[in-house]
Amino acid sequence: MVMKLVYRLTVCAGILFLLFILCTPLDSYSADIDNCLLCHKYPGLSRIDEEGKLRLLFINETAFNNSVHARVKCEGCHTDIKKIPHDPVKKVDCLTECHIKEPSSEQKFSHKEVADFLSKSVHGKSDKYGKQKKHIEDLPNCKSCHDNPLYRPLSFFKRVRPGISEASLGRCRVCHKKEEFIFRFYNHVTTRLHKIRNPKNIAEICAKCHDDPQLVARHDMSTQAAFSYGETFHGKAASYLDERVPDCLDCHINRGQSVHQMLSHEDPFSSTHAINKGQTCAVAECHPKATAKLAGYQVHPEFNREQSPALYYFTVGFIFLTGGTLLPLMGIMFLELLRRLFPKATLRRRKK
């Protein structure tokens, strides 16, 4: 009897414990004080908008809480939402001043300065004389390249590897008592210590425009940049997820500057201008022993007759060599197999 009672109690306790675990939010530190997730937590929440496009309205809370914007309240960016349920909303403007204060200056935080940089870069909407460029609708805005990136922490404890090091968190806890603060601060710093995206991702982002043949033609660009990058050893290694190889940004941005300050290769201040290329390749972590001649390597050649005729005919030569060697030999193989089917057959008998 007693054993049975103990058994039943244990089962009940077990069920209660499981319920407790299942009902506790995975991460109770979300910035959702206005309870937007009341609706947006449902996967599949979506609608077809006026243009006939499917809009997915689901917010993955776990993913969002591990993203760099986790501490920004929903209405920090969606400023036009004042009540729930809300009307259709405007697109997010990244230049909005959000509630976060930049800790070193105590100023409200915004991405405005990035926009200033971008407008002066090769991706800006006006040229260096202030004249508006053609097809400005093709030029990128913030969200053409950026989504809400996830934290990608790097652990330096004992061995460099991705992920959060419990061992280093232990050191933080001595002085900092709030787990949430430790988690955010650790992630903020260690994510910034390396690139948030690997070279393959970067090339894919650039490819959205730079591999679009119509867009490339409209803007008189000479190459499908990401594709030709993929044909170099840099690009091939990147496709195997090597993070040590240079991506688009490593060569196209001057050292110490931001992605948003990229210049045209025709600009003499650009890292990819003919006079600076040599130095760009020869930086300490890439090809420090290289002479300026190494930069003569064509990173973005197109294999067409108009642009690089020599490379084109060189390649065609090899194709003919391959075909010219293999096809006759395979022909002989085929004939020989046929011959073995009728070993005695012949048009002319051997003289006895």
Binding site: G230, T325, E336
Partner: protein
């Protein structure tokens, strides 16, 4: 060089000497390094195709496979250098020293000796190719009578020979790009990459289709030719591919009466009982 037994007999069948132990070891080193190079190199060439990623992972992915590729490449280049020395030494011992002893060492004579080396392509090869085509197109039932090395084997020798020069040189340029571009323009690297990868594809297809067909997959040899391991070729294959050389060896060994008729012709009554069914 130690004198080799030209014909070995086992279970009543004759086997004909083809390759020395040294040559067989060279071939195994060549084959294994080339296969490794192809397996670690082709995923780089075809990196946009999904299977390449699985294959590359087998070799340790991007952080390990390139190292394996370079080690295998180095082995192949060292083997190539050794082979050149081996050929030159053999020629020196086999031809230059005897000529010196006879005091007949002249340029004309040397050139003649070089031309007559068994792996140098000659007029007989062209005749054999035309004769083979006639045979394959049913114009005759007579197969060409091959010499010690047929045109197929000469092709198998010289194609990789040229391939190693092209692929090795372009590979070295790309491996040591900083050093190479101190004296050649950087644009050469574009050509080196094309030459390296396209020539490698040609070599791989050539070896895995043509060479493997001839030595393993052809119905005459299937499932596997063993001459690359044993150094000795069975009599029936010797008759089929090297009839001229076969007759020569048999005469030399004093076995004239045992010479089999050419491939495809009826066996004389006197020999039938000797042949296995």
């Amino acid at each position: 060089m130690a004198k080799q037994l030209m014909i070995k007999t086992k279970d009543g069948e004759k086997y004909f000497f083809r390759f020395t132990v040294n040559q067989r070891i060279q071939h195994i080193l060549l084959a294994s390094s080339v296969i490794t190079l192809v397996l670690t190199g082709m995923p780089m060439k075809f990196h946009r195709i999904p299977w390449a990623h699985y294959l590359y992972k087998l070799f340790g992915g991007i952080s390990v496979a390139p190292v394996i590729h370079k080690i295998a490449g180095s082995i192949l280049l060292i083997l190539f250098a050794y082979h050149i020395i081996y050929v030159v030494c053999n020629f020196y011992n086999g031809h230059i020293i005897p000529l010196k002893k006879k005091k007949e060492l002249r340029l004309g004579k040397l050139l003649k000796r070089i031309i007559n080396l068994p792996l140098i392509p000659n007029v007989k090869d062209i005749k054999d190719i035309t004769a083979l085509l006639k045979y394959l197109l049913y114009l005759t039932d007579k197969r060409p009578e091959g010499a010690q090395f047929t045109w197929k084997e000469k092709f198998d020798y010289w194609a990789p020979f040229w391939g190693i020069v092209i692929i090795g040189l372009s590979g070295l340029i790309m491996w040591h790009k900083e050093l190479a571009t101190t004296f050649i323009p950087g644009e050469v690297m574009n050509y080196a990459l094309i030459a390296h990868s396209d020539e490698a594809l040609l070599a791989a297809l050539f070896l895995f289709i043509w060479h493997w067909y001839n030595v393993h997959f052809s119905p005459a040899v299937f499932p596997m030719g063993t001459v690359f391991l044993t150094g000795y070729l069975p009599e029936e294959l010797m008759v089929e591919e090297h009839y001229e050389y076969y007759k020569e060896i048999m005469k030399k060994e004093g076995l004239e009466h045992e010479i089999l008729p050419p491939h495809g012709s009826p066996m004389p009554e006197s020999m039938k009982e000797r042949m296995p069914a």
